[in-house]
């Protein structure tokens, strides 16, 4: 059900610019208005969300301590997994964000019953999710950076470098080469592979299928559509690259112009990315910003050393010693326990 709804939504998203540009020639709407609106939604949305999170305080230090605390001088402590200061936290966050360290720990439950009815439980090696997630995010990043060649003039050096690294396979990939097609980018394939894996895993693993919402399939399908249109455009249904660049540079210089005929496929690609970024702030995709604020990861474990303030702290009534002694004074005296006030 979730899959059907999400895929229908994405089909609709692909059809809108197809019809809009193909049949009604709404190039300006889909080439200028929609991308601007989407980008504005993206930026404002993220800023609003992050400010909204940041407005809520972090009253208590609640890092997940994944290693030995800093204690006695001769006890080797875990600087990264259980940091006591800012330096350690920064390294921990870098590992978290750049290498998905927590996800790397992942294991898989193997539950079997032995002949005598006793369970045999194992926690197996499981790095596929980590690997797919890492490939997905890095491929996306590289593809995003590679797109700078469309937005900016002159093309920055690092973009050329990325392109040559990314395209180093172009000699070897057949049959695409030799058909008058440009070199194949590694990241294009990796992204599609990773997204497909993530989708298949979501359906194939019973537990993830059970928890999955349309909101989980929808971005996957959007990204699949984005990748597919991109690949189609690059390798199969060629578009006028000069015209695309003219539009993109115009958009970025806030002097948008609609050049000649680019091809509907480009507008579909552009619309899909517009939907994706506009959807971003309202969705789970916000994990990109959220991870930086996660209190279990971005706090140091030094609350026994250093006092941390809870901004909404308020005094509470606790049961005082006086009230306690008043109730039990006689029993205490009888048991030989010292009291503040002798019984009458």
């Amino acid at each position: 059900m979730s899959i059907v709804v999400s895929s229908l939504a994405v089909v609709l998203i692909v059809l809108i610019p197809w019809v809009g540009v193909g049949a009604f020639n709404l190039q300006y709407l889909f080439g200028v208005v929609v991308p601007y609106a989407a980008l504005a939604t993206f930026i404002i949305g993220i800023v609003v969300r992050v400010i909204d999170w940041a407005r809520s305080p972090v009253p208590f230090r609640i890092p997940t301590t994944a290693g030995q605390q800093w204690s006695l001088p001769w006890v080797k402590y875990s600087k990264i997994d259980n940091p006591k200061g800012t330096g350690g936290v920064i390294v921990r966050m870098l590992f978290e964000i750049l290498t998905f360290r927590s996800l790397f720990r992942n294991t898989r439950l193997e539950y079997r019953l032995k002949g005598d009815g006793a369970p045999k439980i194992d926690y197996e090696w499981e790095k596929w999710l980590w690997l797919a997630a890492l490939l997905f995010h890095y491929s996306f990043l590289v593809i995003f950076l590679r797109h700078f060649r469309f937005f900016v003039e002159p093309i920055p050096g690092f973009v050329h470098l990325l392109e040559s690294l990314d395209g180093f396979m172009q000699m070897g990939v057949l049959p695409l080469n030799g058909l008058g097609l440009p070199g194949v980018y590694l990241t294009d394939m990796l992204l599609m592979l990773a997204v497909t894996y993530l989708f298949v895993r979501r359906i194939y693993v019973h537990q993830t299928r059970y928890i999955s919402l349309p909101a989980d399939y929808f971005p996957l399908f959007l990204i699949l559509a984005l990748g597919t249109t991109g690949i189609l455009m690059r390798y199969f249904i060629r578009v006028d690259i000069t015209a695309v660049k003219e539009l993109a540079v115009g958009l970025f210089k806030f002097h948008p112009t609609i050049p000649g005929d680019i091809g509907v496929i480009f507008y579909i690609h552009l619309f899909v990315i517009s939907v994706l970024i506009a959807y971003f702030p309202f969705s789970k995709l916000m994990h990109m910003a959220g991870i930086f604020l996660s209190p279990t990861r971005n706090l140091s474990n030094n609350s026994r050393m250093k006092r941390h303030i809870n901004p909404w702290n308020y005094p509470v009534h606790y049961h005082t010693y006086q009230a306690y002694e008043d109730e039990f004074r006689e029993a205490m005296v009888e048991a030989g326990l010292p009291v503040e006030k002798e019984p009458e």
Partner: protein, 542 residues
């Protein structure tokens, strides 16, 4: 009490959620053996908790206040504004499922709503409906649903099936801590008087008498006197603990479970013996009957109640005029001490930075709270050769160590207990790496779940831990499970009997006391439990 389950039956677990049914369409089934009895009127009233009345979760009518929806709504908003963790964890889950098979309750029950992600989704779905545009617009399509009475019951049922052990948070790529969601979810249920009696009664008791059983000070003292006699019988040494003594240098606080329930009582005897041993070297320590509970059951109710119970520790330290506080072997007590205490009730500027009077070691890691873990303290003593130990006295034991969840994932306390254990016993074996240290499995009965009526839940939740113990028992012949948590000591014997058999449970300081060689003591033929020491089995010591 519910019909107690049988191990063979309980082990038949299906971890495959249904193919076609969505979890939102699966109504809650409040099953006997899984839930704990509802909080009693007198216990809620004792600490001014709202909607105090006797109620039964198995009945249709939970006697909620008329405006319960508004109370929850207001409480929810307030907590979103107060806890970034809560707000963030409502928003950023991508449902990757990395946490799904990490929860001991899911492993042991197969109930899909025990997957941490889904436990949190129970709350998130309502959050989306109430507080997000997408949820308001698209409803179920956006994973949103109304907070109906059934959903509320589902909340309660599953919030009190989480031991807040944080194992899921370790594996979450964003550090989403379902325990944090559970803690705040429990706060919400407490606003309308929904707690369990195994939490509300200890809260009321700890508040009034200082210990969770409601034992009055003279009875507390009686128990200690009993230990003193026992120790004398075994060692010939008469220990002399002091209580509520003003001007002592150090205040000692331990979970009251150590005082009242086997096998924690042996650990308590261990504390007494260690302190007596150190007396001649300059240890000046007192116990308190008023602040006699380290375990903070308020933490299973709300942050406010946790703070109220925790406040007594500093209040008593101030009244007695001690320099610093030493804390015994306890699980969630240490999470509260490590992560909350100074913020709750600090600054403890009437105390001094802790220094071991025996070794001169400054406990710089505790210079804020002024509260030192006893195992830390003992490890330091052993490192400085201040204890004469005969580890062969624990040779009748083959020991493994259970990392308690809270000191593990809420503190990072791993090496010190191992150092102490290795110094006091010769046969120590680790459980498999995926089941210890930060990846440790819960006992299945923490966070206020160690009642009798939810035995099936407890045995299911403890299965992964028991399974790892079984592994070392079969491989190395382990016969003793050591731990540094009073709840563990209270619940493991039942768990071991159910899944493993013939594995005892001990605190670390029981083994320390066994190994500790006193000047002028009798030759020891038994351990603190009266079990013959290795090589003494044939002695006529009955």
């Amino acid at each position: 009490m519910a019909k107690d389950p049988k191990a063979g039956e309980t082990a038949k677990i299906n971890h495959t959620p249904p193919l076609m049914e969505g979890w939102m369409d699966t109504p809650v089934d409040i099953r006997e053996g899984i839930y704990c009895y509802g909080a009693k009127e007198k216990n809620l009233e004792a600490v001014d908790m709202p909607n105090a009345r006797d109620w039964n979760p198995a009945e249709e009518d939970w006697q909620l206040p008329d405006d319960w929806e508004k109370v929850i709504d207001d409480g929810f908003r307030l907590r979103l504004d107060r806890f970034r963790s809560f707000k963030l964890f409502m928003d950023i889950c991508v449902r990757c499922g990395a946490c799904a098979d990490k929860c001991h309750f899911f492993i042991g029950s197969g109930d899909p709503k025990n997957m941490p992600v889904l436990r949190a989704e129970l709350i998130r779905s309502v959050y989306r409906k109430k507080y997000t545009a997408g949820g308001k617009l698209f409803g179920k399509l956006a994973g949103a649903r109304d907070l109906t009475l059934d959903v509320l019951k589902e909340w309660w049922y599953y919030l009190y099936q989480c031991t807040e052990c944080r194992r899921c948070s370790l594996f979450c790529p964003y550090g989403i801590d379902t325990a944090e969601v559970t803690i705040i979810g429990r706060e919400l249920t407490n606003l309308i008087g929904l707690n369990t009696d195994w939490i509300s009664a200890p809260v009321a008791n700890c508040n009034r008498t200082g210990n969770h059983l409601g034992i009055q000070p003279h009875a507390y003292k009686d128990m200690m006197d009993f230990f003193v006699d026992e120790i004398e019988d075994i060692t010939g040494i008469r220990v002399e603990p002091s209580f509520n003594r003003k001007g002592a240098e150090i205040l000692f606080i331990t979970p009251s479970g150590d005082v009242f329930a086997d096998p924690g009582t042996y650990t308590c005897m261990g504390y007494l013996m260690l302190f007596h041993y150190l007396q001649s070297q300059g240890l000046d320590i007192t116990w308190s009957t008023y602040a006699s509970e380290g375990g903070n059951f308020g933490y299973f109710t709300s942050h406010e109640m946790a703070k109220r119970l925790n406040a007594k520790m500093y209040a008593e330290a101030k009244r007695l005029g001690v320099k610093w506080i030493l804390g015994g072997e306890c699980g969630h007590m240490w999470r509260v001490l490590n992560q909350y205490m100074d913020t709750f009730n600090g600054p403890a500027d009437f105390l001094e930075e802790p220094v071991s009077p025996i070794t001169g070691t400054k406990f710089e890691n505790a210079k804020g709270t002024k509260m030192v873990h006893l195992v830390e303290f003992t490890a330091d003593l052993i490192k400085h050769n201040k204890l004469k130990l005969d580890p062969s006295r624990n040779d009748h034991l083959k020991v493994t160590f259970h990392d308690s969840c809270n000191p593990s994932r809420g503190m990072g306390f791993f090496e010190e207990p191992r150092y102490v254990i290795n110094a006091v016993c010769n046969n120590f074996y680790e459980m498999p790496p995926q089941t210890i240290r930060e990846q440790t499995f819960c006992c299945g009965s923490g966070a206020g779940l160690n009642a009798g009526e939810n035995m099936e839940l407890r045995m299911r939740g403890g299965l992964p831990r028991a399974n790892a113990v079984r592994y070392v028992k079969e491989k190395y012949g382990v016969n003793m499970l050591s731990c540094i948590c009073a709840i563990d000591r209270a619940v493991f014997p039942t768990l071991m009997d159910f899944w493993v058999r013939d594995v005892g449970v001990t605190g670390v300081h029981e083994m320390v006391a066994n190994a500790l060689v006193f000047e002028g003591e009798n030759e020891r033929t038994t351990d603190l439990r009266g079990e013959p020491l290795a090589g003494m089995e044939d002695d006529d010591n009955v």
